[in-house]
C-alpha cells in the first residue's frame, strides 16, 4: 500500500526534505544533502515505475495515485521526471545566488508540482496552482528590491489566471463544462506563457535565481491540468484556437529567441517556444500527436531545464553572459560545454535522444489534423536549433582567455550525467516510454 499514491508520497518527502535542508548551515551543504535525498527518492520513484509496469493491474487499487495500470505508470513516470528536474534545479544552483532559503523554496515548488500528480479534482488543482504561485512570490519578495518588483509583475500576470482557475473549477462542479474548460484554458495559457501572456517568463528568467525559475516553469503544471481535465475539448473550435496559439507561440518564440543578445533571455524564449509546441500537441485528437506533446513536456523538463541550469552554473563562474560576441573557451570548461550542447540539441530533437522521438511524434501526429501548423512547427524547431548553437558558440568559444573558471564539480557532473542518461535511455526505450507517457483515459479518447 505504500505505493498507492506515489506522487503524494514524494511530495511529502520533498516538503520534509525542505525542512531538513533549512537547518543546514551553508548552501553548499544544503545542496549536497538535498541532491542525495532526491537521488534516493528518484530510486524509489523508479522502483514504483518498474513495479507498476511489471506488476499485474490490481483491481482493488483505484484513484489517481494507484499503480498497477497504465495511469499508475504514467504518474510514476511523471514523478521520476519531476525528481530529475528537482535534482537539476538544486544540484546546479549556484551557491552565491541560491542561499539555503532559495533551495528550500525550490524543494517546496517541486513538492507542489509532484502533488499535482496525486489529484484530478479541479478545486484541489486550483489550490495547488495557488500554492505554487505563492511560494514563488514569497521567495522572490525575500530576495530584495528587484525580487519585490518582479513579484509584483508576476502577480499582475498570474492573479487573473488564478481567479480563472478557481472560477473554472467551480464551473466544473456545477456542471458548466464548457465555461469551466474555457476558464481553465485561459488560465493555462498564462501559466504556460503562451503568446500574449508570456511577458512574465523572460523577466523571471533574466531576474530571478534560475533554480527557482526552473522549479516553477519546468514541471508544466498547467499542462498537467490540461491532460487530466480538458481532453473533452479536443477537436472543438476552442481547442483549435488554443492549438493556433501554441503554434504562434512556438514560431514567434523561436524567432525572438534567435534575436536575443542576452543568454538568459535567449533560453527563456527557447522555453516559451517549446511550451508552444506542447500546447499545440495537446490539442491534437490523434494519439500520436498527444504522445508527442507528452514526450515534449518531459523533454522540456529534462533537456531544456538542464541547459538553463548549466547556464546558471556557467554564470556563477563568469558573471552575466551576453550573446553579442563569442566570449568563452570550450577548452577551459569542456564538460560544461558538452552538457550545454547535448542538452540544448536534445531539447530540439537530437537523434538518439528522447527529444528526437518527441519531435517526430509531434510532427507526424499533427499533420493530418493541422497540416499547415505542422510545417510551422518544423520551422520553429529549426530556429530553436539555431538558437541553441548560437548560444553555445557565444558562451563556449571565441577567446583563449582563462579567468580561472573551473569545469563542472563532481555534484554538478553527477546530476547532468543522470539527466543525459535519462534522455538517452528514454530514447532507447522510446516505445515503452511512449506507451506510458499519457494516462489511459487520454489515450482512449483518440480516434
Amino acid at each position: 500500500m505504500i505505493f498507492v499514491s506515489l506522487p503524494l508520497l514524494i511530495a511529502v518527502a520533498l516538503l520534509v526534505l525542505g525542512q531538513i535542508v533549512s537547518t543546514c548551515d551553508t548552501p553548499r551543504r544544503a545542496r549536497r544533502v538535498a541532491v542525495t535525498a532526491i537521488q534516493v527518492l528518484f530510486a524509489v520513484a523508479l522502483l514504483g515505475l518498474l513495479i507498476s509496469e511489471f506488476a499485474p493491474p490490481d483491481p482493488t487499487l483505484r484513484g489517481p495515485g494507484a499503480l498497477g495500470g497504465g495511469s499508475g505508470s504514467w504518474r510514476a513516470l511523471v514523478s521520476c521526471i519531476h525528481l530529475l528536474i528537482a535534482m537539476l534545479a538544486v544540484g546546479l544552483a549556484p551557491v552565491a545566488s541560491h542561499p539555503v532559503r532559495t533551495l528550500v523554496g525550490i524543494l517546496r515548488l517541486m513538492a507542489i508540482a509532484c502533488a499535482f500528480g496525486a489529484t484530478e479534482a479541479p478545486l484541489l488543482l486550483a489550490g495547488l496552482w495557488a500554492a505554487g504561485l505563492l511560494v514563488l512570490l514569497r521567495e522572490l519578495r525575500a530576495s530584495g528590491d528587484g525580487g519585490v518588483r518582479l513579484s509584483g509583475v508576476l502577480w499582475r500576470y498570474h492573479a487573473p489566471s488564478l481567479v480563472l482557475a478557481v472560477v473554472g473549477s467551480l464551473a466544473f462542479l456545477v456542471g458548466w463544462s464548457s465555461t469551466g474548460a474555457i476558464c481553465w484554458l485561459v488560465a493555462i495559457a498564462v501559466r504556460e506563457a503562451l503568446l500574449g501572456a508570456h511577458g512574465w517568463l523572460p523577466l523571471l528568467f533574466s531576474r530571478a535565481p534560475l533554480g527557482l525559475a526552473v522549479a516553477f516553469v519546468a514541471p508544466q503544471s498547467g499542462f498537467y491540468c490540461h491532460v487530466v481535465m480538458l481532453q473533452d475539448v479536443s477537436g472543438s473550435a476552442v481547442a483549435h484556437a488554443f492549438a493556433f496559439l501554441g503554434v504562434a507561440t512556438a514560431v514567434i518564440g523561436a524567432m525572438l529567441g534567435c534575436a536575443q543578445t542576452e543568454a538568459r533571455r535567449a533560453l527563456a524564449w527557447l522555453v516559451i517556444s517549446q511550451t508552444g509546441l506542447i500546447a499545440f500537441g495537446l490539442e491534437n485528437s490523434s494519439e500520436v500527436g498527444l504522445t508527442g506533446a507528452a514526450l515534449s513536456w518531459q523533454v522540456l523538463g529534462l533537456a531544456t531545464s538542464g541547459v538553463v541550469m548549466t547556464l546558471a552554473a556557467l554564470q556563477a563562474r563568469r558573471g552575466l553572459l551576453g550573446l553579442d560576441r563569442p566570449q568563452g573557451s570550450f577548452a577551459r570548461t569542456p564538460r560544461m560545454a558538452v552538457s550545454f550542447l547535448f542538452l540544448g540539441f536534445a531539447s530540439v530533437g537530437l537523434p538518439f535522444t528522447l527529444g528526437f522521438v518527441a519531435e517526430d511524434l509531434l510532427m507526424q501526429g499533427s499533420v493530418d489534423e493541422f497540416p499547415g501548423f505542422g510545417l510551422a512547427l518544423v520551422f520553429a524547431t529549426a530556429l530553436n536549433g539555431i538558437n541553441v548553437l548560437r548560444c553555445f558558440f557565444a558562451l563556449f568559444s571565441g577567446t583563449s582567455e582563462h579567468i580561472g573558471e573551473r569545469d563542472l564539480t563532481r555534484l554538478e557532473a553527477t546530476v547532468l550525467t543522470a539527466v543525459m542518461a535519462a534522455l538517452i535511455v528514454g530514447a532507447a526505450l522510446a516505445g515503452e516510454i511512449a506507451g506510458i507517457s499519457l494516462p489511459d483515459v487520454v489515450k482512449s479518447m483518440g480516434p
Binding site: 500574449g196 512574465w200 536575443q260 500520436v288 540539441f345 510532427m363 507526424q364 497540416p371 577567446t399
Partner: protein, 447 residues
C-alpha cells in the same frame, strides 16, 4: 553468401562507426584520456572494417544478381498507426557510396594523425569524425527517409562543429554558425518531406525503381511535386547550391582533413545522393526535374565564374567543388542516374586529394618547376577570347562580389528577419508593459 551474412555486413557498416563513437565518448565524459596513436588507429581500423563490410556486400550483391539487400533491424517506437522502423538497405547506390565514404574517413583518420599531432583538439576532431562517419553511413544505408533524417542531422551538427574547430578565433565560429543556419533551414525541407510523405503515402521507405530503390511516389500529383521540391530544397543547403552556397568557401576555416572530407568528398555529395533516391519523383514530374537541372546549371556556372577570381587555394577549391556538384545536380535533373554516381565518386576522390595537398601548394609548385626544369606557364585564358569586353568587366565584378548572394542573404533575408524580430520585440515590450506595469518595462527594452 547467405542472407544473414549479407545483412550482418550491411549492418556492421553502420554499427562499427557508432560503436567507435560510444567507445570514445562515454569514457571521455567520465574523464578518460586516450593517446593519439590509439585514437587514430582505432578510428582508422573501424572505418576500414566498415569499408570492407560495404565492399564485400557490394561484391556479393553484384555477383548474386540481386537488386538489393534489405536489413530490417526492428522497430524503434510506435504509437497508434505510426511506427519508426530501423531498416537498412544495401543496393547499387548505397553500397558503393558507403564503401567509398568509409574508406575516405579511414584514410582521413590516418592522414590526420600527423597533421593534427599535438593539436589541442586532437581527440575532439576524431570524435567528430567518427560521429560524422556514423551519420554518413546512416544516410546512405538508410532504408527510409525517416532514417536518412537521423544521419542527416548528425552530419549537419558535426560539420558546424568542425568548421568552428579552432574555437578560440571568432571567424571560424562565425562561419560554423553560418553553415549551421543554412543546414538547419534547409533541413526544414527534409523533415517536411518526411512528414508529408507519411501523410500522403503512409511511409517513407525506399521501395522500388531502377537502377536502385527509390521513394514511393504519392498518388496525387501535387503531393509528389511538393515533396520533390522540399527534397530539392534540403539538398540545396547541404550541397551549397545557388543561392545558398555562400557558406561553402567559409567552411574551409576548419582543419584541412575535415574540409577535404566534408566539402570535397562526402558531405557535399549527400544532396545529390538524396536526389538520386528521389529519382522516382523527378522522373514523373518534369517541373521538379527541370528545376533541379536549372539550379544545378546555375550553380555550376556561378561556381566556375566566382572560382576564377579567388586568391586563396581553399576558396578556389571550394568553388571548384561547388561547380562539380552543380554539374552532378544538373545531370540528375536531366534524368541520368549512373553517370552522377560515377561523377560523385570521381570528384570526391580528386577533390579531397587536392584539398589535402593545398597547405603544401607552394612546395608542390616549386617541386613541379624543378622537375620540368622551367617555370610553368599560366593557364591559358580561354574565356577572354570568347566573352565580349563589356560583359567581361561585369562578370569580373560579379565574381569578386561572389554573385551578390552574400549581400542579398545578409541584407534581404537576415536583415528582414531581424527587422521583423525587432518589431515583434517592440510589440512584446509594449504588451508586457501594459500587463506587467512599469516594473516590467524598466529592464524590458527591445533587443
Amino acid at each position: 553468401m547467405s542472407d544473414q551474412i549479407l545483412a550482418g555486413l550491411v549492418a556492421s557498416a553502420v554499427a562499427l562507426p557508432l560503436l567507435g563513437f560510444v567507445m570514445f565518448a562515454l569514457p571521455a565524459w567520465f574523464g578518460a584520456r586516450f593517446g593519439e596513436r590509439f585514437v587514430a588507429g582505432s578510428v582508422g581500423l573501424l572505418f576500414t572494417c566498415s569499408s570492407l563490410a560495404s565492399g564485400l556486400a557490394f561484391l556479393a550483391l553484384v555477383f548474386s544478381g540481386r537488386s538489393a539487400i534489405e536489413v530490417p533491424l526492428g522497430e524503434w517506437f510506435s504509437v497508434g498507426s505510426y511506427g519508426f522502423h530501423w531498416t537498412l538497405i544495401g543496393d547499387r547506390l548505397s553500397l558503393p557510396f558507403a564503401w567509398f565514404a568509409a574508406m575516405l574517413v579511414g584514410l582521413m583518420a590516418a592522414f590526420s594523425r600527423r597533421y593534427l599531432h599535438r593539436e589541442a583538439g586532437f581527440f575532439r576532431f576524431y570524435l567528430m569524425l567518427v560521429l560524422f562517419g556514423t551519420g554518413v553511413e546512416l544516410v546512405v544505408l538508410a532504408g527510409s527517409l525517416d532514417l536518412v533524417f537521423v544521419g542527416w542531422e548528425l552530419v549537419g551538427i558535426t560539420s558546424a562543429l568542425l568548421i568552428a574547430f579552432f574555437h578560440e578565433r571568432p571567424k571560424p565560429v562565425e562561419h560554423g554558425l553560418r553553415a549551421f543556419i543554412t543546414y538547419r533551414l534547409c533541413d526544414v525541407g527534409l523533415l517536411s518531406a518526411v512528414v508529408w510523405l507519411h501523410h500522403a503515402v503512409g511511409h517513407t521507405d525506399f521501395v522500388s525503381g531502377q537502377p536502385w530503390l527509390q521513394l514511393a511516389v504519392p498518388s496525387e500529383g501535387h503531393h509528389a511535386v511538393w515533396v520533390g521540391f522540399l527534397l530539392l530544397f534540403a539538398s540545396m543547403g547541404k550541397s551549397a547550391q545557388v543561392p545558398l552556397g555562400g557558406w561553402l568557401p567559409r567552411a574551409m576555416e576548419g582543419p584541412t582533413p575535415s574540409s577535404a572530407i566534408f566539402y570535397g568528398a562526402i558531405a557535399i555529395h549527400l544532396g545529390p545522393y538524396l536526389l538520386l533516391r528521389a529519382g522516382s519523383i523527378l522522373d514523373q514530374f518534369p517541373a521538379v526535374a527541370w528545376t533541379t537541372f536549372a539550379i544545378g546549371s546555375l550553380t555550376a556556372l556561378h561556381g566556375s565564374i566566382v572560382g576564377r577570381v579567388q586568391t586563396d587555394i581553399k576558396s578556389s577549391l571550394a568553388y571548384g567543388s561547388m561547380t562539380q556538384v552543380g554539374l552532378i545536380v544538373a545531370e540528375i535533373g536531366l534524368g541520368l542516374r549512373v553517370v552522377p554516381l560515377v561523377h560523385i565518386i570521381g570528384h570526391a576522390a580528386i577533390r579531397s586529394l587536392e584539398i589535402l595537398r593545398s597547405p603544401s601548394l607552394l612546395h608542390d609548385h616549386h617541386y613541379l618547376e624543378e622537375a620540368v626544369g622551367t617555370r610553368t606557364v599560366r593557364t591559358p585564358r580561354h574565356s577572354e577570347g570568347v566573352i565580349p569586353r563589356g560583359l567581361r568587366s561585369w562578370l569580373y565584378r560579379y565574381a569578386l562580389e561572389r554573385g551578390y548572394q552574400d549581400g542579398f542573404l545578409r541584407e534581404v533575408v537576415v536583415g528582414s528577419f531581424l527587422r521583423f524580430a525587432a518589431v515583434l520585440g517592440v510589440i512584446d515590450s509594449a504588451l508586457t508593459g501594459w500587463i506587467g506595469g512599469r516594473d516590467a518595462v524598466e529592464e524590458e527594452r527591445p533587443r
